[in-house]
Each structure stands twice: as structure tokens, then as C-alpha cells.
Amino acid sequence: MAEAHPVGFRWVMKAKERGAKIIHVDPHYSRTSAVSDLYLPIRAGSDIALLGGLIHHIIETDSYFKEYVVNYTNAATIINEKFQDTEDLAGFFSGFDPETGTYDRSTWMYEGGEVAAAAGQREHSTQAFSDRTGAGMMTGNVRSDPTLQDPRCVFQLLKKHYSRYTPEMVEQICGIPRESFLELAESLIANSGRERTTMLTYAVGWTQHSTGVQMIRAGAIVQLLLGNVGRPGGGVMAMRGHASIQGSSDIPTLYELLPGYLPMPRASEEDTTLEGYIESGGSARGWWSHFDNYAVSLLKAWFGDAATKENGYGFAWLPKISGNHSHFPTMLRAMDGGLDGLFVMGQNPAVGSMHAGLQRRALGHLKWLVVRDLAEIESANFWKDSPEVRSGETSPEQIGTEVFLMPAASHVEKEGHFTNTQRLLQWRDKALEPPGDARSELHFVHHLAKRILPRYAESEEGKDWPLRHLKWDYPEHGEHAEPSAEAVLKEIGGYDVASGKALSGFADLKADGSTACGCWIYSGCFADEVNQPRRRNPGDVNDPEGGSVSPEWGWAWPANRRILYNRASADPEGKPWSERKKYIWWDEAEQKWTGYDVPDFPVDKKPGYRADDDAEGMDAISGDDPFIMMADGRAWLYSPSGLLDGPFPTHYEPFESPVDNVLYPKVGGNPTALTWKREDNPLNVAADPRYPVVASTFRLTEHHTAGPMSRNLPWLAELQPEMFAEIDPELAAERGIEDGGWMTVMTERGEIEARAKVTYRVAPLRMGDRTVHQISMPWHWGTFKTSEQGVTGDSLNDISALSGDPNTSIEDKTFSCDVRAGRRDRESTARLAGREAHEHARPGHEDHGAEVPDKLSQTTQSDHSQPGPQS
């Protein structure tokens, strides 16, 4: 965090000064490690073993926060008899289908609980939101055992599931010495409970694994057992990879979501009508019972007067998804000639995306490509200067892609808001005019729409209905006709259709077409016609009565609420767990919830309210069920639905790992992980002796993401001038690699060269009787620069593989490799040349199998039949 979020880390340092203990777990010893009280090196990708070890230790030593766990989590809930654990099935949960590499999750259900019929039909990696939240699940008849003794209750299953995750096992899998592990565990326990809370912070390092979602789940389970969720100083905080990443999933750039986490309608029976969509996406119980209000208001925001009750508000004409259309499958499709054009805005796949050599080759198969950026980045000039062009594998004459490079305004040259960590919307004004023809994204998209929409005015085709009826009337200002970002924000925040007045929050939203709202969770961000994210009043931050909340600093969704599920900051009776950690409580005299923040609970629902078995909507949430987005009002230690790879996180090896899975030798890697087994995406076989070194990636303070913004700035370029790899002295000595000298890193995808940073900050991992070396590399370098004093270097992603977490399709940045002294012999991905089996037979525009990933089950470590590197 000190490395990648130094400004945010200010507050960690302040906390440290006030006595907080800072613990850092990371394969790479970074600037964060240097200032932490305790640093634990870990073998990249073994996080679930460590977190499982913590869960085991917390339960084993009886250190969990009992009142919290019994009342606020599903620990007491009984799971149906058909469920079988990985401990029973040697690494698989019940319901695994080896043919498809997916689970039939019906056996994971609560006993007596039912799920909406659609749940079992979710397509791979495209599960709808209802499935993620547990909305759609009927929980009326579930049984529970508050004594936590029933062998089928979640708590007992959890205990059994992690029974082998002992400190010794943690040492053997993660390379973390037993004493360090125990110090970590005892620190967490000592700093949790009624009086204290512990915060867990992670960044993209956690998401970028074939088990990424489950790692974060495991962290959440630890936090729930310790009672650290919904309380001040607690939680699981996601540090974002760059500005407004949170915003780009709230109002998504993700293919499977609509704004506010409404599912993208799918090409299936139930999503052909608005009613069907609402039924499959909504829930009879809990907060998602309001789903229809949000969906209809979104359609009203898009289509205005054209959206009527009679035409289902235009829902039927929305495009529908038919499979995994995420980044990787889309690029593979481009590779196979199935994609005409691509907009690359604020991204640099030629450097920043996994298996960048493949990404660049895929770009070369497009007809046209629009790149909007501050500079001519690698993704815009791949056709004339890339490792592939340099090696002679291809040439500008052979690449037919027409590239349009559009200059973009930087963040100080445009207005708008960012949504960052903690869901905080912060507005920024424009500080100066962008140079030359550079324009904001908003300007670009707005004027593109204004040029495109008239071309569809006469169309009578159904698919063009959304274009013909899109409400696109944003006011413009200035000599370049810049659209008003505030007008967009107001639409996002919602307004009353008749009066045009801004709404005060999502409680105002209706399903009758009288309200419009671009993103229901942001509703109220323009309340009282005021740009709420623009507020800059910190208040009296030293006020012991909640001064640290600063509710008038920016605006947080939902409802300007700073801590989600904050009902959990009070005990079941509604009293603060302790005076020290007081946050939200039940005011008996006023008969309402009150406190320092906006209560995340129906404000007048008494703590003693008990939901009837047949209650629906929010009435089904009892007064001591803080997790109101879940159908049962409880935080889930066990996920009966929503995840594709198991109700409990389980240790699987990264699919490229030099070591065997000691817990589940027959399984190895995540059996549901996504890999794309193709000639041009070769993988290092698990436990392949040719690739004995673990590699992971990291970021430097001095550079930003794929580098164009920092590598071309002389002041930053001089601070970290060259691509390097951090390597321990033992491995360096073994391979004759010298500090400051050149080294080459090899995988099946290719090889890159880097300066060697031989340092004791990296230590070999002692894992039982085995020693494993790991190296770590930043990924900020690429082949092109736009300034004389800019710097270039090999791109780390030239050697990483396309793969994905089954839930998110996010890549795995832990892989195996080998290293040698000296520079590479050829261009970085030259060994892929000639592997393009699809080149000779472009299938044109037909749909074909590119977006259907292969299953890891076909390439587990017991199956070493994968093609070697000799081709």
C-alpha cells in the first residue's frame, strides 16, 4: 500500500503512530514491508492456505467473537445432507462435473432452502447478480442451531473444512515459519473483539489469481469470525489499481453487469421480458425485493419518454449476452478474426494485459482500432514497433488494422468524479484546458453518439430501437461544445420524470416510470440539486463523537453511508459493542437507529423485531439481521450460491506452480479455473522441473500501470530507469546472476530481459524440506516512448499466461518460470511465432468457440500431456 497508494498510506502511518500494529503479507518485500511492524513473506498464490490456517487457529483456540458469529453470520445454519466437502472428496466439492469443469451447485443449499429455478442454469462465468447476492433464495424453512453443535451446521463444516490447515501445513505450503504465523494469528485475535477491530486491506494482488475471489472470501471469513465487519476500523478494504476502478464496476465497463450491479440480461428465456428479468434478478426477500424500481428507473433514464409501461420500458430491445464476453475471450476472438473493431480507452493491452504478445497479435487482426490516450502508447503503435515487428515475424505491410489515435485530456484537464476505495465519490473541477485536440472521454463519447444516432433514425430494425430512442440531450458549453458532466451526474443520481427534480435517494425510486435513475446505488448524489461529491467539508475531525466520519467530504454510495452493514457495529439488542467502538445504535427514547453514520438498516426497525416465516421483502429481515442485502440477513461464512468454485475457499495451487498441492494431490489447481488451451497460449505444466521458480508481479511507486504516463516523464523515468527483477542472493549465485547485471526470465510464452536486483529483501522460502525461490517483477515497462528522456524495457506481461478466476475471468499473475544470467537471445515473444494455428483459416465473423474457456481439470498436475516448448 505504501508502494502503490502512498497518499492513502498516510493514514496507515498515522494509525501506526497511534499504536496500531501494521502487518504486511506479500511475496515481495516492498516499501510497505519496510515500515510494517511485522512482515511475512509468502509463496505467491498460497494465500488461502494462510487464511485457512488463521480460520483453523481462531476456531481451534476458541478465539472467535461468539455473539457476533452466532447472531450475524450463517454459522448456525444447517446445510443439506447432500453437500460434501473437499475433505470428503479429495479436493472437490459435491456436484463437480469433470466434463465441463463446473459445479452443479444444488447440493450446496441450506437445508430447507430453495433457490430460484434459474440458479442451476447460469452460464459459466456469467452468473447474474441475483446469484451472487443470494437474492432469489427462499430461506423460510431453513433450520439453524445457535449452539453451533449440529454436525451439519456451517460452523462445524467450516471447522472440519480447515482442520488440516495447521501452522505446520501453513509453513509447508506458504513458506511462512510457524512462529511468524502464530504472531500474526495472535495479533489479529488480540486486536479484535468488542473493544478493538482489525482492518484487512488488499489490492489487485489478491484478485489476480485463479482463486482470487476465494482468497478475498477467505479474508472475509477471518474478519467475520473476529467480528470485524460493519464496524469502525474493520472491514475488508479493496485498494484499487487506479483512479475510479470502483466507479468502473458501479457503472460498469464489465460486460455482464448494468449500472448498480443489475445483471446484464442474458440470451435466455427468462430475460426476454421485463417481468422475467425482474423475477430472475430480484428477490422476494431482503433489499433486492426493490429490484423492479431500479431496473425500470434505469430504462427511463436511458430511453426517456419512449420507455413506457406498454413497451416494457424498452427492456426487450436491450442487447443480451450469450457467453463470456470479457476481455480475454474478446481478444482471442479478435485473434481468430472474429472482431472488426475495438475501442481502447484508458487501457494499454499491448503492455498491461496478460500474455501481451498474444494481445498485440490479436490487435493486428482487427479492421480498425481506436485508441484514446495521452500519448502514442504501445497499443496504438504495435503495428510499427513491437517485439513482433522487430523480430521480423510481422511487418507494418502485413497488418491491416487501421489505427485511430485520439488525444485524450488528462485528469486535471476535465471535470467529473472518481469513485475510489470505500465507494467515495469525489468531484474534481477542470484546472486547465487540454492541449490541442485533446478532449475528455465525455466529449468523445457524447459527440460520437451525436454523429451515430442520426444514422439510425430511419431504421426499423428491432436491434436499433435503443439507438433510435436513446435520450441524449446533455447541455453543452464552451467553444468545444463540452457536455455537462454535472448533467450526467444528475441523471446518474436520479430525477423525478415529471418535475425534473433530483431525487434524494433510492427510496424515491419507483417501478411505474415516474422516476429515472442511471445507477440506483448512486441515487441521491445530486440531492437538492447539489453536486454532493463536490463537497469538501471535513467537519471537526477531532470530535470524539464520530468526527472521523466526515460525512460532508464527498459522497459515498449508498445514501452517503461510510460503513456498509453498520448495524453490525451494535450488539443484537442495538447497544454498541463497546464505548470505544461505538458507531450506530438503537435509540430507545426516539425508537430509531442513530449514530455517527447513516444507519444501514430500516431506521425504525426495532432490534427485537422477528420476521415471520412467510414474510416478504424487507419484512423478512429481523431486527438483528444486519446484512440486509442477503436474503437471510446474515453474513455468509458459507456461500450456498453465488460462487462457481465452492462454498468454502480451498487451497488450490496456482495452475502454473512448481510444487504439488500437498492438501489435495489429485486436484492441484482450481478445478473450475479458466484457461484457454490453444497453441498460442501455452502453459507451463504444473510442477514442471524446467520452471522451478515462482514469479509474481508488483508495482512501483515511481511508475503507473503500463507506464505511458510515467515512463515518458523524465522526473519519474530517472527514478526507476530500467525494468528489473528482484531475486534472492542464493538463486542469483546459483545461476551466476550479478546484482545490476542482466538476467532473462523464461516461460512457455517467451522470455524477457531485466536488470537483476539481487537483494536480501527477497529470501528463499523454506517449505518443509523443500526450498523454493521466487522472483518478483514490476510490469510498468514497454517498448515505446514519446519523450526523449523516457525509458523503455521489456514488458512483464509478455511472459504471463491467459487464465482466469472462474467467477470474474480475472487473470492469474502468479506463474512459474526459470531465470538465467545475461540478456535474451531474441525478441520477447518470438518463441510464439509460428504457433498461430488459426492464421491460415480465419473463420471470419462466425461465432465459434473462442470465448468458451477450457477447464483446468484437463490440465491438472496429474496430466502432464500438454505440448512442450519445443514447437
Binding site: P6, F9, M13, R31, E702, W715, E718, G740
Partner: protein
Amino acid sequence: MSAAASEVAIKREGAQRMGFFTDTTVCIGCKACEVACKQWNDLPADGSVFRKGGSYDHTGSLSAATWRHVRFVETVAPTPSRQEAARKALAEGGGGNVPRIPAAGYQLPSTEALAGAAGGVTDSEMVDLVAVAEQGDVTGMETLDRWVFMSDVCKHCTNAGCLDACPTGALVRTEFETVIVQPDICNGCGYCIPSCPFGVIDRDPYDGRAAKCTLCYDRLEDGLEPACAKACPTDSIQFGPWEELVKTAKGRVVELHERGFENAYIYGVDDHPDDQLAGNLGAFFLLTEPPERFGLPAHAESPIQENGPPATAAGLLSGALALAGAVASVVVAHRRAGRR
């Protein structure tokens, strides 16, 4: 402890001594100070090389175009055999500092190898044999002990060697008792460079004139804090009236001692004249490591203060000028000229 009143060349009602207190215990090594300084002062990137043994430091040292510089020091706990080797080297007459080998092996590098090491070897990369032999507490081998960062800057000394040596009056003391170079007066003679006991001031390779930190004199005139302090996310760099900063620093040391960090101390300010560095530093530091580890001298004084009558005293006692020797009289005469 302030500079002599007569030395202040720029008068301003109500101005007081301003300084930096750089607390290395909260530095996260982000280099924001280094970049903010270059941006505000419009200094060019002066080039860098990937430095052998340099940790994350590739700019190397303070220079004419690098007025804030963050040092990175990886300290390693030495092995018993390393300690033994140090003891043996001492017994054989070795002493002082010998260069460390950055990564592996116990051989000392040749002079040629050192000259070839990109960026050269700085003091921080030298091993104190005595310390290794006795405590095993400096750069050695085997395992990482700690990784520490320190943002270095011009010290704005009370007894400023650069100012004392400047024959043109280009170097002056401002109303904030900081020391700045007036580029339009500097003739590039370079006398200031060996006169700085900290190796701070340097000549611009392009125009030959001396350049160094001004404590953002232009910002101070407008009541703004210097760019580096403004950019520092963790308040490792604190700016303010010098007297207040000293109080803050002393309190901080006490606090750290109470928390068990008994090695915390102030570098550059001391109440006892004998223990002062250059008459106390306007920009001082809180360190938890020996100063040499960061390339800072354990003792420092303006050469003129050390080798001749104190320049400030000479300035006060004009009658003594004739006795003070040619150099001092030239210095003072020029400084007087500069003041007018």
C-alpha cells in the same frame, strides 16, 4: 542557535528562521519530495543509471538538479563468518570503511571494479569493520535486517561552509536564515563545493553555476511551505519556524524512546556547542541509524570555522579583519558587497 544577525542579507520585518525537520521513522521512500522539488523549481531530470547495490536509489546523490534526494539503505544482518572476517581484517591493520560487495561472496572489490560500478560507491555502501566485528550491526551478509529511507536535502547550516567560501556574494543568507545561491551573481568558481561538509552544493554541468535547495525561497516569500514538505504524504518532512521544529523533534525523540526505539536521535541540532554540526542545521533529521549509513558525516563544520577565525566573528569585528588573512577578508568584503 542562529546565524549571526549581521549575516542576514535580506531584511524583512517579522521574519524568523525557518527549517526542515525530516523524520526518517515515518518516511515510506515514495520520492514525492524529489519529484515535487524538481517540478516546482523547474529542475531537469539529470539522468540516472540502474545502480548496482543501490536498492531503489538510481539518482545517487544530491546534485545541481536534484535538491531533494531519497536514500535507500538495505541493512543486512551479518553472519558469524562475516564478523570473524572483519575481526581478522582489523587485526591485520585494516580499518575505517571498506566497500561492501552488494550481493554475494566475501571478496572486496578492486578499485577498478568500484570505479566501474554505476554511480560509484557512496558512504552508505561502506562497511565499518569495527562495527561488524563488535556488534554485527552494519551491512554484512545473510538476511535482511531492515530497509530504511531518508530524504536528504541542503542543511542550511548556521555556519554555512558554502556561504563562507563564496567570493562573489552569490551565496547569501535570507531573512528566513536559509542559504541560497543568487544565480545572476554566481560566477561558477566552485569554491563552495569543497566547502560544504555535507557534499550538497554542486555546479550545474550546463552553465557551470552552483545550485542547491533554496528551501523554496520563492514560496516562503508568499507564505507557502516548500514543495517537498507539501508533497510528503506521511509528514516525514515537516516545515516550520526552526525553534518550533526543534521542540517538535525533541518531543518526538522522547516519545520514540518511550516506545522502545532507543536508537532515535536528532542529527544536526544539539544544545551543546561541542556536539553541534556546523553550528546547528536549519534542516535537521531524526535518525535511528548511524549517520554514515546515509552518507552523512558524524562531524561537520564550515572549513573556515575549522581552519581560521570564524567568518561571522570576523564580520562582527571589522578591526580584526586585517589579521584574519587574505581569504577571510576577501570573503567578508564580498559578502558585504553582496548585502548592499
